[in-house]
């Protein structure tokens, strides 16, 4: 249920933004979520509807973009995507899952996606010296609002 705290932080960030810019209403919020965290967008949408109540963002349209991840091995040059990575990550994180109050087990990457460096090696050569093309967790891409 990490979706809730992530969404909470987005609601608060855009609220602060509205205050700073003197916006009465936020009409549209576009966020980018790293595919690695496997945050569920429908939970985030629901959380946003509830958490934004009573804030300037309450009727805002929320657009969630999932940014795809690619890995490039510095050692052998191999490039791979999340689908391939997940085959290794799932096994490697299996003893490290985090259980929430609803009994759901989440991998640590759900909370800290960049911990992927602890749970993944290059599928071709086994090196951990790889680059991630999008090293971020969640970010707000744009916010639109009205002064009146």
């Amino acid at each position: 249920m990490h979706e809730w705290s992530v969404t909470q932080s987005i609601v608060e960030a855009v609220t602060r933004f509205a205050e700073e810019k003197g916006l009465k209403r936020i009409t549209r919020v576009e966020i980018e979520v790293n595919e690695l965290s496997q945050l569920e967008t429908d939970i985030m949408e629901e959380a946003f509807r509830i958490l934004a109540q009573g804030t300037p963002a309450q009727n805002a349209e929320l657009i969630i973009l999932k940014s795809p991840v690619h890995f490039v091995c510095k050692n052998c040059g191999y490039r791979w995507d999340l689908k391939e990575a997940l085959r290794y990550i799932q096994e490697a994180t299996s003893g490290h899952s985090i259980v929430d109050e609803e009994g759901t087990s989440d991998p640590p990457l759900h909370y800290l996606p960049m911990l992927v460096y602890s749970f993944l090696k290059c599928p071709k050569c086994g090196s951990r010296d790889f680059e991630l093309e999008n090293p971020f967790s969640v970010r707000i891409k744009s916010v639109e609002g009205e002064r009146e």
Binding site: W4, I98, D106, R128
Partner: protein, 257 residues
């Protein structure tokens, strides 16, 4: 329109606003005893009855769980974030709880991201003191942590050994902290005696430096040859009596109680 406030920062701010004071334990140099001092200080504060959190922010070699003998942790989460692990009356969070014994070969941007995520996701609740074991050096991750914590009540404890080699590193750290407007509580002189108990020849040098910089020497922690064995046995840091006694003194001088 683009955004100045980042979501993780907003969340971090909110969490830190519930913390009475953050005690940042750092040093320019590695291996001077930041982690054992952080762990013992947190424990000493908890024993005094304060609500204490211990935050292992060392992204290179998180070692707090090993020092405290915390094993086989199953972290739990909630809608509010990651739950720190209860241990002997305090709350503890470490990256080691998330990755176990896996290597943590983090790079530039990913490293900062990990620090941001763990600061913003750990749900401490309200605390009197949060003791932070900072990563060694003055790299991105150390600067990022201090930048967040300095907006709230905080003090920085500079851990240093009396070695002449360490002194120049301490000087650079102190001048950096002053530039960054971080409140320095003073210097914690660790391994202030030689193994065997004789005073360290460099001790006076460190004291003199502290005096010229108007810094307090908060504690002189002797070399305690029983410490390694205590750690090995997982016996609790109180069982290294000379080390423990000095850290208790440090806790007293910080709290005034």
């Amino acid at each position: 329109m683009s955004l100045q406030v980042e979501p993780w920062e907003v969340l971090a701010e909110k969490r830190l606003s519930e913390i009475g004071e953050t005690l940042l334990v750092g040093s320019g140099k590695g291996g001077v005893g930041k982690s054992v001092v952080s762990a013992a200080l947190a424990l000493a504060l908890a024993k005094k009855g304060y609500k204490v959190g211990l935050f292992d922010l060392d992204v290179h070699g998180p070692s707090i769980p090993a020092i405290l003998g915390i094993k086989n942790v199953r972290l739990t989460g909630s809608r509010r974030g990651l739950e720190p692990v209860p241990h002997r009356g305090m709350k503890v969070m470490s990256l080691a709880f998330l990755v176990g014994d896996n290597p943590l070969p983090l790079k530039g941007a990913a490293k900062t991201e990990v620090v941001e995520d763990i600061i913003s996701n750990t749900d401490w609740g309200s605390l009197d003191y949060l003791v932070v074991d900072l990563p060694p050096g003055t790299g991105d991750e150390m600067l990022l942590s201090t930048r967040i914590f300095r907006r709230h009540t905080h003090r920085f404890l500079v851990v240093a050994t009396p070695s002449i080699i360490a002194l120049s590193v301490v000087k650079r750290l102190v001048s950096l902290l002053r530039d960054e407007k971080i409140r320095i509580a003073g210097i914690v002189e660790n391994m202030a005696t030689l193994p065997g108990g004789a005073p360290h020849p460099g001790s006076q040098l460190l004291e003199k430096y502290a005096e010229t910089e108007n810094l307090r020497v908060l504690a002189k922690i002797p070399f305690d040859e029983t410490l390694e064995e205590v750690l090995l046995k997982g016996a609790g840091l109180e069982n290294a009596p000379r080390f423990w006694h000095a850290v208790e003194g440090l806790a007293e001088s910080l709290t005034g109680t």
